[in-house]
């Protein structure tokens, strides 16, 4: 009887063989990386998953440094790090999503730990070559450390959650956080909550508006270290599941952020958020698919190994349920692979293939990190150039469509995870020995996939806008048209 695994990758997702951006060598390399991650997940993560869950139930701030360090050595903290920064990412989202499935099949929380780290790095990737040195290189360089460098991304606030992740709803969101322009940078204040990895991240990318009443027009992103004066971890949440990845409340009390740690200009923030979510939601689809697969595989192993339970396989209801689980996992996988390849080849891919971007990649590091060059690369003109590059090579319509695909993958995956984990538990029943707490954990982990990265309901609105109605959100075009910059210059500010 077959497990719903990816052996080999080209059989699980046959069209990858003919994908224009995946040459034979790339596919072999991707497959090899996925298989190495699977082995890591099976041998190191799954055997410890329940133990980690129990520890974090008593101590929600607990962070599994040992497993994070093992994963870092494998490359799991550099899934989206481009070559100029010391990484080896060619397929950014696709590789991250496939790997997320593998890790989540062992433990959903561990997959979120690595996924949330990538989420923290994505704004740097999208901010352009000026941000590919510094923190990104620090992350790449820490991969062999006992405590590698962890990232987090802070968007949601106690009074504003799902709405801050939508380009329309954000206009009426009740944001409280605020960034104030000062000499040489910004001072930021506010509270962010449900921030995965927030209590252990060395650097957090934080999204805040200059004017909380006009977040759409004034949001931008900041890079904040954990030792910044005024920064504090004020709470760690006690979650139902996915406990291996702690979720924290972060307080920013007049934290100074220098200009070279400011990502984008006022108003660029929503383009950044849209880009980050377009890249992160397929990864959540991968996590959700992995949780579902983990539940299915555990159930199947039990049915095949336990002489009493094995009798259940003779029931046609059980056979049909297993077939439906396999079917749902397969469909969810195709959805996230579609979304991830679209992000890599159409959205981010075009940006990475741009002449300016490629030129930067070939620039000697000594030149790139020169003080004058660095100021230029992280300055306002460079930020404007990146948005213009995204606008020209990607555009609002394509970004909206990519976001729609990524939301489809996320929503489909989240529903699959909850359904499959629930059904697995129902087939096994309460009297299934050591399998029971494992399946119960799968179910607890699964539920978060319907909530984080925007609720499934919000994601389906993105599917409607991007794929059904063929709409365009106006985040790139508006930003490229020239919002007021940190230097006070303003462009035409055309809004639609």
């Amino acid at each position: 009887m077959g497990a719903a695994t990816l052996t080999p990758l080209r059989e699980a997702v046959p069209r990858l063989v003919d994908h224009p951006q995946l040459h034979g060598r790339d596919l072999r390399s991707l497959e090899s990386f996925v298989l190495r991650t699977r082995e890591f997940s099976r041998s190191a993560i799954r055997p410890r998953a329940l133990e980690l869950d129990r520890i974090a139930d008593g101590d929600p701030g607990h962070f599994p440094w040992e497993l994070a360090a093992e994963g870092a050595k494998l490359g799991l903290l550099n899934l989206i790090t481009p070559r100029p920064s010391g990484g080896d990412a060619d397929q950014f989202c696709l590789r991250a999503a496939l790997v997320a499935e593998e890790i989540a099949a062992g433990c959903g929380g561990m997959a979120t730990l690595f996924g949330a780290h990538a989420l923290g790095l994505t704004p740097l990737l999208l901010a352009g070559p000026g941000q590919w040195d510094g923190v990104m290189k620090e992350v790449a360089a820490s991969k062999d450390d006992e405590r590698p460098l962890i990232m987090a991304c802070a968007i949601t606030e106690p009074s504003a959650g799902t709405d801050v992740e939508h380009h329309k709803l954000v206009r009426s969101a009740k944001l409280v956080s605020r960034a104030v322009r000062v000499d040489g940078g910004y001072r930021i204040s506010g509270v962010k909550h449900f921030i995965s990895n927030g209590n252990v991240a060395r650097w957090t990318t934080v999204v805040m508006p200059e004017d909380p009443k006009r977040p759409y027009e004034t949001t931008l992103a900041f890079l904040v270290p954990d030792d910044a004066p005024g920064f504090a971890v004020t709470k760690v949440e006690h979650k139902m599941g996915q406990r291996a990845s702690p979720a924290a409340e972060l307080t920013f009390d007049d934290v100074f952020v220098p200009d070279d740690h400011v990502l984008g200009r006022p108003g660029d923030g929503m383009a950044m958020v849209a880009g980050v979510l377009a890249g992160s939601r397929p990864v959540v689809g991968g996590i959700a698919t992995g949780i579902a697969r983990g539940a299915y595989e555990r159930l199947l192993e039990w049915l095949q190994a336990d002489p009493v339970a094995g009798g259940l396989l003779h029931h046609q209801q059980v056979q049909l349920a297993l077939a439906q689980m396999y079917e749902a996992i397969h469909v969810s996988r195709q959805a996230y692979v579609d979304a991830a390849t679209e992000f890599d080849s159409i959205s981010l891919g075009k940006l990475m293939a741009n002449v300016s971007t490629r030129l930067f990649g070939r620039m000697p590091a000594a030149v790139r990190t020169n003080a004058v060059a660095h100021r230029r690369l992280t300055g306002d003109q460079s930020r404007r150039l990146m948005i213009q590059l995204m606008q020209r090579s990607v555009g609002d319509r394509v970004l909206t469509q990519t976001l729609g695909m990524s939301s489809l993958a996320k929503a489909r995956g989240g529903d699959t995870a909850v359904w499959v984990a629930g059904l697995a538990l129902e087939i096994a029943g309460l009297d299934c020995g050591a399998l029971r707490p494992e399946l119960e954990k799968c179910l607890r982990d699964a539920k978060l996939c319907q909530i984080y990265e925007g609720t499934n309901q919000l994601n389906r609105l993105e599917v409607y806008e991007g794929l059904v109605a063929g709409l365009s959100m106006h985040v790139l075009d508006d930003a490229a048209a020239g919002m007021p910059g940190p230097d006070g210059h303003s462009g035409n500010g055309a809004m639609r």
Partner: protein, 356 residues
């Protein structure tokens, strides 16, 4: 001791008053203690139980001749529903205690806690402990609500088929081990029970076992209704007050749809039957499957309405989702429950001259 099915008549007014008492207990005692009970605070569990015993709800089905009120079997589910709006686990203790006591003809000691242990294995009765010459042999691998009970009424099998037998705590040959990582209904902690020729008192055969089975199915259906009602109520209140996207979230179609479906389930499939003198086993099986599926749907959506807050332990909504899942799985999974319903229907058709 021997099984009895005698019950007194209770009029509607009296029963409404009793339901009010159960509702007040849920609101004032069980609900404030629910998160502590869920977190494994044994003292909170003891307080919830002793307050329940003070109002006599743990023995409402104990026969009059055994010194109990002897309420009709049909009153158990509504009482369980009322208590479950406070805490599902405590409501399950109430159900299991009443199902156990309903089979006793002599009064149990004051404040003693009894629990019924249904046959819940993969193969149902085939996996149940065996009663041989007044001694039980076998195992109950996941006896929900049995941990720490003073007395147990075990669904078992004898040479004639299904049977019930009572075992008291401390009986040689009875061994109890705790269960870790219980997902839901943690107010009724589970245990693994081993019977190595443990002395047992036979309480009856097929009829007694069928009555106990029907009672527990009806009771779990009631608990599921109570849990779903509470989840619906919490989600509704939150949707009215939580501001997102330009107003309270109840203005958004997605949230409205979830709330409307909760109401549909509550007023449709999840609606409690009128309390009757007896419980029809087929109705009880159907109610158990329908109400627990509805409760899982409603509580899962309630967490969704709360969004990220719903996933955090402090709001108590995710607990309702976990509790509802256990209702779906206890005493057996719903696919097995439906299979049992079908078997019962076929037997009835055959005995009435229809079918094969």
């Amino acid at each position: 001791m021997s099984a009895t099915t005698a019950s007194t008549i209770i009029d509607a007014e009296e029963f409404d008053a009793l339901l009010s008492v159960a509702g007040a207990y849920a609101r004032d005692v069980a609900r404030p203690l629910a998160l502590d009970v869920d977190a494994g605070d044994e003292e909170a569990g003891r307080r919830a139980w002793s307050a329940l015993c003070e109002i006599g709800l743990e023995r409402s089905l104990l026969a009059a001749e055994a010194g109990g009120p002897g309420l009709p079997d049909g009153t158990l589910a509504p009482l369980a529903e009322a208590v479950a709006t406070g805490d599902g686990g405590t409501a399950l203790r109430l159900v299991l205690s009443n199902v156990a006591l309903a089979g006793l003809a002599t009064p149990p000691a004051e404040a003693a806690r009894w629990a019924y242990v249904p046959a819940a294995g993969v193969r149902g009765l085939e996996d149940a402990p065996e009663l041989r010459a007044n001694a039980l042999v076998g195992e109950a691998r996941f006896a929900l609500g049995a941990a720490g009970a003073d007395g147990l009424v075990i669904a078992c099998r004898d040479t004639k088929g299904p049977a019930l037998a009572a075992v008291v705590r401390g009986t040689p040959g009875l061994r109890e081990r705790p269960v870790d990582d219980q997902l839901g209904l943690r107010g009724a902690p589970a245990a693994v029970l081993s019977f190595d020729h443990a002395t047992a008192i036979p309480l009856g055969g097929v009829d007694a076992a069928a009555r106990a089975g029907a009672l527990v199915h009806a009771g779990v259906a009631g608990i599921a209704r109570g849990i779903a009602r509470r989840a619906h109520e919490m989600a509704f209140a939150y949707a009215e007050e939580r501001y997102q996207g330009g107003g309270p979230i109840i203005i958004h179609g997605a949230v409205r749809d979830m709330l409307a479906r909760m109401a549909e389930r509550e007023l449709g499939v999840g609606r409690a039957p009128e309390p009757a003198t007896a419980v029809d086993p087929a109705v009880a099986l159907a109610q158990k499957a329908a109400c627990t599926d509805a409760a899982v749907a409603t509580t899962t959506d309630a967490v969704q309405v709360f969004g990220g807050m719903g996933y955090m332990r402090e709001t108590g909504v995710e607990k309702l989702m976990r509790d509802a899942r256990y209702c779906q799985l206890f005493p057996a999974s719903n696919w097995a429950t439906r299979e049992a319903l079908l078997q019962l229907q076929r037997t009835r058709r055959a005995s009435s001259g229809h079918g094969t």
